[in-house]
């Protein structure tokens, strides 16, 4: 009897430790970033371009570049992803072909991001001759987050009760109108949440934009989608490895990391708020 209680008790302790250790790791990581990075954050840092071979000045072009790349990625991936999800879950007859497409989407999600980078380099930069620019980078990031968006959209579409579809179709409303007016509106919150998480992913990736969009240094801001841009993750990489004054730029590195982490967590936070808001007023 006691032995059984002991076993149960030790099991609880282990699972509790596991859960706490995750929270602890994230907490420690955040505290470390904030403590080291907060000193670098000031108005100049956020609004000025770098100067003195990037040992002084700010990161404004990188913030803006990351914004352009991420916005471009979502503009490309959202319609494509939602459309694919609608096809897969609403129209396609479930069979071997659809299974292969699904497996393909899942594989895409598991492809290392550097492979996306090389793919983007080969297809957009070289073959289509876009060059290293916002467009190439946004397309590459778009493909990177496509599986996330397809997955989230499919889940959201499946979560719409079948009875809604039946009710609409039973009224003599066509399948397309049913999807447009009943299924999509009810799936939208889930689709948006998934897409926002995709945004966070796109904003934080370095490898896909290394060869396709990111500039080592440029003080001018992009004038068109065919210009190179600086980007936050790549800027961190550059400061930490490729500069001539790595030690000197340490505070700037932490500062940039802090801005990037704050951006990504901020975006995730928006997703969490939307989700909890929708859950509260869940309508079925």
């Amino acid at each position: 009897m006691r032995w059984r209680y002991f076993k149960q008790h030790s099991f609880f302790v282990i699972v509790r430790l596991a859960a706490f250790s995750i929270a602890l790791a994230i907490g420690a990581f955040l505290v470390y970033i904030v403590v080291n990075g907060i000193g670098a954050i000031n108005w100049e840092f956020l609004t000025q371009p770098p100067r003195d071979s990037m040992t002084k000045g700010g990161i404004m072009p990188a913030i803006l570049g990351t914004f352009y790349l991420t916005a471009g990625a979502i503009i490309i991936a959202l319609p494509l992803g939602v459309a694919s999800a609608i096809y897969l879950s609403e129209y396609a007859k479930q069979g071997p072909v659809i299974r292969i497409i699904r497996v393909g989407v899942n594989c895409l999600a598991g492809v290392p991001s550097i492979v996306f980078g090389l793919f983007g380099l080969g297809l957009f930069v070289v073959f289509l001759q876009f060059g290293s620019c916002v467009l190439s980078g946004a397309l590459t990031l778009g493909f990177l987050i496509l599986p996330t968006i397809i997955g989230a959209s499919e889940e959201a579409l499946k979560a719409v009760p079948q009875t809604f579809r039946e009710a609409s179709l039973g009224l003599g409303v066509s399948k397309w109108q049913t999807i447009l007016r009943i299924v999509l509106p009810n799936a939208l919150p889930g689709i948006l949440t998934g897409s926002i998480l995709g945004i966070g992913r796109a904003a934080g990736e370095t490898a896909p934009i290394m060869f396709t969009a990111a500039a080592f240094f440029t003080s001018k801001l992009p004038k068109s989608i065919f210009d190179e841009v600086m980007a936050l993750p790549y800027h961190v990489y550059v400061l930490a490895t490729a500069g001539t004054h790595i030690e000197e730029t340490r505070p700037l590195q932490y500062g940039t990391v802090l801005v990037l982490v704050a951006l990504v967590l901020g975006v995730d936070l928006i997703a969490i708020i939307i989700r909890s808001y929708v859950r509260k007023k869940k309508r079925w």
Partner: protein, 254 residues
């Protein structure tokens, strides 16, 4: 039974879910402006037959129909027939109330709007007419803008009936419409059915034999995918032709 009074006729209908034969050689006439009840134990095929009459079974992968389903003389399974048109004329009310997560008003105008009913006055008139027909108007006329999800189960089901009626169908299919409702809501729906048969042909699937006896003019008894007996309700419940029917209605099996 006069031939021209028949609105729907099934002729030697077989129905398959994959390789499972759910309906076997069902031939049945549904008379206009009458209530026909389909009864039988679970899995006997009565709901399958109902959903076959407006091609709702099309939505299930791997199903197959053989034989003919004639609606006003046309086989609705002909390749040139659009199931969307059929469902406009043959409406359906489901087992579980399934209003859309929209306002009461928008629930009713959803279908008609997509079929060209424009203009506020026309829509308001349609909403009032449909809700009056489903005897829900008095209860909801001041809260038309509120979500349909706020209504009770019985009210939701009457809203679903109003929503189906707003499409001005000729036939109303009801798939166990009261099985999820309390006795008072059930009584209201049954009164409603008696009222509605003046303007509509109603075909109702029910598990409740008293309900079939109360509301219907004709009753079909199904067992294991076959139509065992189809007779005027009064005859079927008092002097059934078949022994199986008698055993079922007296509760000896099922």
């Amino acid at each position: 039974m006069q031939n021209n009074d028949i609105i729907i006729r099934t002729k030697n209908v077989d129905f398959y879910y994959g390789t499972f034969k759910a309906l076997i050689d069902v031939t049945m006439d549904f008379e206009k402006n009458k209530v026909t009840a389909l009864i039988g134990p679970s899995g006997c095929g009565k709901s399958t037959l109902l959903r076959l009459l407006n091609r709702m079974n099309d939505l299930i992968d791997g199903t197959r129909v053989e034989g003919e389903v004639l609606f006003e003389g046309t086989n609705i399974y002909n390749s040139n027939v659009d199931p969307v048109d059929i469902r406009r004329r043959i409406g359906m009310v489901f087992q579980k109330p399934n209003p859309f997560p929209k306002s009461i008003f928008d629930n009713i105008t959803y279908g008609p709007k997509l079929n060209g009913v424009r203009g506020k006055t026309a829509q308001e008139a349609l909403v009032q007419r449909s809700l009056e027909q489903s005897s829900l108007w008095g209860e909801v006329k001041d809260i038309l803008k509120q979500s349909a999800m706020m209504l009770s189960g019985g009210q939701q089901q009457r809203l679903c009936i109003a929503r189906a009626l707003a499409m001005k169908p000729d036939v109303l299919l009801m798939d166990e419409p009261t099985s999820a409702l309390d006795p008072i809501s059930t009584a209201k729906i049954e009164e409603l059915i008696a009222e509605l048969k003046k303007d509509y042909t109603i075909i109702i699937v029910t598990h409740n034999m008293q309900q079939a006896a109360r509301v219907s003019d004709y009753t079909g008894f199904f067992y294991l995918g076959e139509l065992i007996e189809f007779n005027p309700t009064e005859k079927l419940f008092t002097r059934p032709d078949e022994k199986q029917t008698e055993e079922y209605i007296t509760g000896r099996f099922g």
